[in-house]
Amino acid sequence: MLIFMNRPNDDLVKRIEDICQDDLNIPKPSLSAQTRLAEIKGLDSLGMINLFMAMESAFGVRFTTDEMAAVKSIGDITELISAKSNGSGGRQT
């Protein structure tokens, strides 16, 4: 039951993995909601900016600087995206 409830955010984690691999050249990132951004190998400060830019483009949302500063883990990101896109998570271009 819990697994099913978690599903939407699991999808988001998967898509963030894709973004890390495709947009940021981070090979095979194995992410979960608990992964802390500081632990992700190859993600420097410019990479963080690129990650947020790619997510804004992929999910059709915009983050504020405060929101970005508060993000510590992948789970923080998925919560933020869910809240902003009303859980739809649709790709907008």
Partner: protein, 555 residues
């Protein structure tokens, strides 16, 4: 493609987008803040590399620095830009085979100067800096200007900019912005290297006109100066314009060849004529085979062809059988034809940075521009009108014109003396009546055919013809066409034995332009907007006012 990118802002995310757009490209990005030093220091990474092209993208706001927050004292000459261009000139001279692309400069839409006009206005400062770039590009042969502002106009500033990345990482644009930049830059770089398709191959039905010629007939297809038919005509004008800069045109259509030839020759609404097409395959054969033949006939590779067809099935067939041919998608709505063609087809497949003599000589464009300048310098209206070589053709009681005449009575508001709106049935009824006559007039000048643009309906009352309806499309106003048209009608009435005419001007909220028409012609005012005159002196009056420039031709 060996590329370097030079900027006064952080363009790092462009790296990924260029890679996606152009494939195997690993551009060298100058470090942030080093753009001037890279040019001045011959030991720099820029000088060390073997390069095909350098992309120079300066941010205008950064260039102004704190001048952005005060009124620049000498907006025409930004000293930092002048220094940078001097350094860039040194590089261009040192590396004459490297193509240097420089973006035009764009200031933000907001400034503390708000609505300030004059030379200190932000827009004037921006224009001044861009003029420096243009002068630079004119004087250094391996420099090409890239119109960055065009991209901003296309996508809008909100799409392109995100202020927060500026403060977080000296980045100004969104990922979408970088993607748009990479796409456009790719097109420009291909144009610089002369990589462009050569031939535009076109389908006919529902592509160059609306409808199907074989089913709807020449009168039934949508191709006109009004309604959605104008979208097709505008599309044809775009295609013709592309031909004028050296693109070859060809036809590939499933159609009856004779019917098409006749339509191309005779339809006044066709902008493209048979002679515009360097190769024609109008037959019932497979379109992929036709494309192979066209390439062979024009002695170009299949990868030089772009095929435009409204039918998804034909497009799929061509993509499958002759993959080298570029087959862009076709817009679902004819109203989008022009913007689709210019935005999607021209920029992607036929990009140009410089026009060659050969491109232009194909069309005699120089000659035409010369003529246009001559006309522009003429002072006298009469001379200008005479130079247009206007030809009017009168159509009397022609059932084929009834639909268009009804449409004109319903749509014309300005030069409309009677404001009498008619349905097609009413027009037909009037035509068939014993005492009535419906005249339409077609207009043509040296620039082309405008089709039927005027209506006059006359009812016979003894020896007097009463003008029930007189109107002219505003497209041709101001050229004396109204006088010419009226005199053609009068000549016909005279032939029919009439000696007098009467007419009325009925005021509406929009037809003041026509208020003095009858009195200017010399008709006697009877009060309350009624006029009357004998035909013979009226014709003489009209002759004296422009009407003499027309050769009456009856069809």
């Amino acid at each position: 493609m060996k590329l370097a990118v030079l900027s006064n802002i952080n363009l790092d995310p462009l790296k990924l987008q260029l890679h996606r757009q152009m494939g195997a490209v690993d551009p060298y990005f100058c470090a942030y803040g080093q753009h001037l030093l890279e040019l001045l220091n011959k030991q720099s990474g820029l000088y060390q590399r073997d390069l095909d092209a350098v992309f120079v993208h300066l941010d205008a706001e950064e260039l102004l620095k704190d001048d952005f927050f005060r009124l620049a004292s000498n907006p025409g000459e930004n000293p930092d830009l002048a220094d940078f261009l001097a350094a860039l000139r040194g590089f261009c001279e040192e590396r004459p085979t490297v193509n240097v692309i420089i973006s035009s400069l764009a200031l933000p839409p907001f400034s503390f100067a708000s609505h300030l006009a004059g030379p200190l206005a932000p827009s004037a400062i921006e224009a001044g800096m861009n003029e420096m770039l243009r002068a630079f590009a004119r004087n250094v042969s391996n420099v090409f200007l890239w119109d960055f502002q065009r991209l901003l106009r296309l996508h809008g500033r909100a799409f392109f900019y995100d202020d927060k990345y500026w403060y977080l990482g000296r980045i100004k644009y969104t990922q979408n912005g970088f993607k748009a930049m990479a796409e456009d830059l790719d097109g420009l770089l291909r144009a610089v290297r002369g990589i462009s398709r050569k031939v535009l191959v076109l389908d006919l039905d529902n592509t160059l006109w609306g409808g199907v010629l074989g089913e709807d007939g020449p009168e039934g297809v949508k191709l006109s100066e009004d309604g959605i038919g104008k979208a097709y005509r505008d599309f044809q004008k775009c295609v013709k314009a592309l031909k004028a800069i050296g693109v070859l045109l060809a036809l590939n259509s499933k159609n009856d060849e004779d019917a098409v030839r006749e339509f191309l020759e005779k339809s006044p609404m066709m902008v493209l004529k048979s002679t515009d097409f360097a190769a024609q395959r109008v037959n019932w054969k497979n379109k992929a085979d036709n494309l192979r033949e066209i390439a062979k006939e024009l002695n170009v590779g299949l990868d030089s062809l772009v095929f435009v067809d409204d039918s998804p099935a034909e497009r799929a067939l061509v993509r499958q059988c002759v993959g080298e041919v570029a087959v862009p998608d076709f817009p679902a709505d004819a109203a989008l034809l022009k913007s689709w063609f210019l935005g999607e087809v021209v920029y992607r497949y036929f990009p140009r940075v410089k026009l060659t003599e050969a491109d232009l000589n194909k069309t005699g464009q120089y000659e035409r521009n010369q003529k246009r300048r001559e006309w522009g310098s003429r002072l006298k209206l009469e001379d200008f009108i005479a130079s247009l070589e206007i030809r009017l053709v009168l159509r009397k009681n022609d059932p084929q014109t009834a639909a268009r005449i009804a449409q004109l009575t319903q749509k014309t508001n300005q030069f409309n003396l009677n404001n009498r709106r008619c349905t097609e049935a009413e027009v037909t009824h009037y035509m068939a009546g014993e005492t009535g006559a419906v005249y339409g007039v077609e207009y043509e000048d040296k620039f082309g055919h405008e089709g039927l643009i005027g209506v006059c309906m006359v009812r016979r009352e003894g020896e007097c013809g009463r003008i029930d309806n007189f109107l002219l499309s505003c497209r041709v106003l101001g050229r004396g066409v109204e006088n010419g048209f009226l005199s053609l009608v009068l000549l016909d009435l005279q032939t029919a034995g009439l000696t007098r005419v009467s007419a009325q001007y009925i005021v509406s909220s929009k037809n003041s332009v026509a208020r003095n028409f009858y009195s200017n012609c010399g008709m006697r005012a009877l009060g309350e907007g009624s006029f009357e005159m004998e035909i013979e002196p009226l014709i003489q009056n009209l002759r004296a006012t422009h009407a003499d420039i027309y050769e009456p031709t009856e069809r």
